[in-house]
């Protein structure tokens, strides 16, 4: 079965990001596919490359990257949510004359059309926030 997973919450403020990650791992463990991860609203914090995690805490950003890399999953970050929250890729940083990029390269800036396309292509869409 094909899933898409939508994440609305930042790992720093809500457990929902960790829940979504565990759910994604269970989907793959069960032999199912993930059409797309989509990060919306405060969920864009999961894709930020400038976070620092205390040594005795779980680095959720890093765990997302591992999951995406190992399984070749598409991970989209809503463009309008992201730019308002300072999560930008190199191209946007240049266009808007910002000091640098803050989106980790495992993630890609995406429009909401890609979320809707993921819905059309998935058997189940599950949101966490």
């Amino acid at each position: 079965m094909i899933f898409s997973i939508v994440v609305h919450a930042s790992p720093a403020s809500s457990q929902a990001a960790a829940t979504a990650l565990r759910f994604a791992a269970a989907v793959l463990r069960g032999g199912h596919g993930i059409e797309r991860l989509f990060f919306l609203a405060d969920g864009v914090g999961n894709a930020c490359s400038l976070t620092v995690t205390a040594r005795d805490e779980t680095d959720l950003q890093e765990r997302w990257r591992e999951l995406i890399r190992e399984h070749g999953i598409k991970a989209g970050v809503c463009v309008s949510s992201a730019i308002r929250r300072g999560v930008v890729d190199a191209q946007q940083a240049q266009r808007h004359e910002l000091a640098g990029a803050s989106l980790h390269p495992e993630f890609a800036i995406a429009g909401l059309g890609e979320l809707l396309e993921a819905c059309a292509r998935s058997d189940r869409v599950v949101s966490f926030g």
Binding site: L115, L116, C119
Partner: protein, 121 residues
């Protein structure tokens, strides 16, 4: 993009205090642009989004009710509201920012049953 799925957007947050209403509306508008089969239900505090005479400029925000009023123009014609939530919140059906069909609890359950994908914010 395939268009076979029925999308249901459940707006259940009051506007302005948080960005939830605006975020959901952005997704609804995208669904309209991509010609998806989309319905929108205002539930609980979400009916406050329908309040007339909103003026976002008083809090340096865009007026949500005005953006919602454009939905029919975008082809989103299936607009529903929880009937009971309106009078509970001092709203009257004839005085809303956009025309919606009031649904009783049975009709709300039917709307959920018919949907293929439910966004809920």
């Amino acid at each position: 993009m395939k268009r076979s799925k029925k999308l249901l957007f459940v707006a259940r947050s009051a506007p302005y205090g948080s960005a939830r209403a605006r975020t959901l509306l952005d997704v609804v508008l995208a669904a309209a642009v991509f010609e998806q089969d989309a319905a929108m239900l205002f539930l609980g505090d979400g009916v406050y989004q329908l309040s007339n005479h909103q003026d976002g400029s008083a809090v340096s925000a865009k007026t949500l009710g005005k953006s919602l009023a454009a939905l029919p123009l975008y082809g989103i014609g299936k607009l529903f509201a929880e009937a009971a939530a309106l009078p509970e919140r001092g709203l009257e059906l004839g005085e809303l920012a956009l025309p919606v069909e009031p649904l009783c609890n049975r009709q709300i359950r039917e709307l959920f049953e018919r949907a293929d994908v439910v966004f809920n914010l």
